[in-house]
Amino acid sequence: MPPAIRVLCLGNDLLADDALGRAAADRLAETAGRDVEVVYAPSAGFALLDYVSGAGRHLLLIDAIRTGTADPGTIHEFRAADLITPAGPSPHYVGLQEVLQLARALDLGAPDDVTVLAVETADEITVGGAMHPLVAAAIPRVCARALDVIEGWRRAPAGRS
């Protein structure tokens, strides 16, 4: 029986602020508890299928994001369920939505509940670049929020509120 909760941290630790996924994974591996599976994946697009399949009931995704509409270090939180619409018309937008839909369509064990915590970045394209101080400072905060989300799932294991 796999753990009912998986935390999936994404990002490339060679690319400046994109390293935050790795840092969050290291931190959460220590603190999240034994009923939580913490996974770090430097993967992209379709390869995410491997990490959402068989994820158990709940999946928490931690990632970097560039919306350009918020200060670096801002934490965006949303639930994938709120975003589920017919998939995008452009096949190059294969991402979380598509792999979740595919995992469901092909019965690959997709999680019921997916929450995303995404930290706004300042730079995610400089190889070997340093993390922006505001992004680095967001790591403890995003981990704390992750633990809150996980605790909520533990308290309402059957909940799909």
């Binding site: 390869a47 994001i65 949303f78 995008g88 096949p91 937008y93 294969v94 979380l96 839909q101 190889v127």
Partner: protein
């Protein structure tokens, strides 16, 4: 009164390294210039400087989240060259076996799930169906599962030998870190047999879904998606396609050979052009020179990837793939094929070749030889390596000091080789389809199709979140003021804000 307007088709976030399409309109609202922006990584050369060259196969593969195996292999081959060392035959075969396995996986994925929405579902299908679920609906759940299972088995084999599936770590100068046991060979043979069957099945799917539909074929050969350029690809000693090794061959728009060179001489044949309006470097065929974004034998524009590889080769080295290759050229009017959208078909032909090559190598008795490493003894100075990545020719070039510490590193990646022709394709599609300020979903899709056929891969592609993001199209005056914003949502609907342009 503005002289031009500027339209940007730009995903809101970086997602799988999506490019950005810029369309600049003149005062009459006609397309003046359109181009495709490729986000480039910054600082790679600086990061590489001062590191031991042996780290490069790991570093370069970790930078790229899309085709790490291709970078790993090009880098490993550059190290062979750097240390002037020839891997033993078994090591070479193991590398090519893993590489063929990777090509099967990557090409299958692209055909079904990345390119599939355009051709399996169809360019005329409603926007809401042009996605992975639409593909599943079209090919059936059982086929969808078959693709996923095949992919998983191929990835397991890459992980078995490569150490890690995401970023393989098995390539060393002069060989590989790990051999293949007799038991593992049996698994490779079984999987390769199934991969060949899977590839044949995929060719059937292509026949039934695409070729059986005259309107698709008409679209493939239409002028809007046609360019007469040079083509580049790796070939073996008989000028047959090879993904892992060989000479780089360039043919002209008439398919006649213009050059054939090894990786060491790539700088004599490949140069880069810079335009003030873009930070993308446009690779061109140096002996002809840069003559602008134009077709024809006098223009140095060339392209890479499946379409180019089939044009640059005289044939394929395996029987089923050779038959598919002949059918491809016979159907599309002979050699060379200049139709960009034929890339999708060429990719399926290559899928069959990769699977057959995988089967040949898996069954080779020498593949289980323990002689997998030649130790380097030469003092390093400079090394170049080349492979055919799924998306085209990939060059790695390192200069080191006498200890093998990197002084200079240069990569020319597939999408860079294709950048001039991609720009031409986007511009041609935009000019043919766009007039004034009417921007429909159909237009966006057709313009996007022009570059999707190349399967462009961008260096900064690391991962994607949160999936299907809307596209944002901004119509700008030359002053930068946004006149109109169009947002195409994930359901394909278009929302317009701002004053009419």
């Amino acid at each position: 009164m503005e002289e031009r307007r500027h339209i940007v088709i730009d995903p809101i976030t970086r997602l799988e390294g999506h490019g950005k399409i810029d369309i600049i309109l003149d005062r009459l609202g006609q397309v003046e210039r359109a181009y495709f922006q490729v986000p480039e990584l910054r600082g790679f050369e600086k990061f590489a400087e001062g590191r031991p060259a042996e780290e490069m196969p790991q570093i370069t593969s970790r930078i790229c989240g899309v085709c790490p195996t291709a970078h790993h292999m090009a880098s490993t081959k550059a190290l062979d060259d750097l240390y002037r060392v020839t891997p033993p035959p078994a090591a070479r075969k193991i590398r090519e076996l893993i590489y063929s396995t990777f090509m099967v996986e990557d090409h299958a994925l692209h055909f079904y799930f990345l390119g599939g929405p355009d051709f399996v579902v169809g360019p005329q299908a409603p926007a809401a169906e042009r996605n992975v679920l639409g593909v599943i609906a079209r090919v059936g759940v059982e086929t969808g599962k078959r693709v996923i299972v095949m992919r998983r088995r191929l990835r397991e084999l890459i992980a078995l030998v490569g150490g890690k599936v995401v970023h393989p770590v098995f390539g060393l100068p002069g060989g590989v870190a790990r051999g293949i046991s007799a038991e593992e060979q049996a698994t490779f043979v079984q999987t390769a047999d199934d991969a060949v069957e899977f590839a044949r099945f995929t060719l059937d799917v292509f026949h039934n879904v695409v070729l059986a539909n005259p309107s698709y074929v008409e679209l493939i050969v239409s002028d809007a998606f046609t360019h007469r350029t040079h083509y580049m690809g790796l070939v073996d000693e008989k000028n047959r396609l090879n993904f892992y090794d060989g000479m780089v061959r360039v043919v002209g728009p008439d398919a006649a050979e213009r050059a054939k060179f090894d990786a060491r001489h790539y700088l004599d044949y490949v140069a880069e052009h810079v335009e003030p309006w873009s930070y993308v470097k446009f690779a061109y065929f140096k002996p002809v020179g840069w003559k602008g974004f134009v077709d024809g034998p006098d223009s140095g524009v060339y392209c890479v990837a499946p379409l180019a590889r089939l044009n640059a080769a005289d044939g394929l080295a395996t029987p089923l793939a050779q038959a598919a290759y002949e059918e491809y050229f016979a159907t599309l009017g002979g050699k060379p094929v200049h139709h960009t959208l034929a890339n999708h078909w060429a990719r399926v032909v290559e899928l069959l070749y990769a699977a057959e090559r995988m089967r040949e190598l898996a069954g080779d008795p020498e593949i289980i030889s323990p002689d997998i490493r030649t130790l380097p003894t030469e003092t390093p100075t400079e090394g170049m390596g080349v492979v055919e990545a799924p998306r085209g020719t990939l060059f790695h070039h390192y200069e080191t000091d006498e200890r093998g510490v990197i002084r200079k590193a240069n990569l020319i990646v597939a999408t860079q080789n294709n950048s001039a022709r991609i720009a031409m394709s986007v511009e041609k599609a935009a000019k043919g389809l766009l007039s004034g300020h009417e921007i429909s979903d159909g237009l966006l899709n057709m313009v996007e199709m022009a570059f999707r056929a190349y399967d462009p891969c961008h260096g900064c592609a690391t991962h994607s979140l949160p999936g299907s993001m809307p596209l944002l199209v901004r119509v700008r005056e030359h002053t930068g003021e946004v006149v109109t914003t169009l947002r195409r949502d994930t359901d394909g609907s278009i929302h317009r804000e701002g004053r009419a342009a």
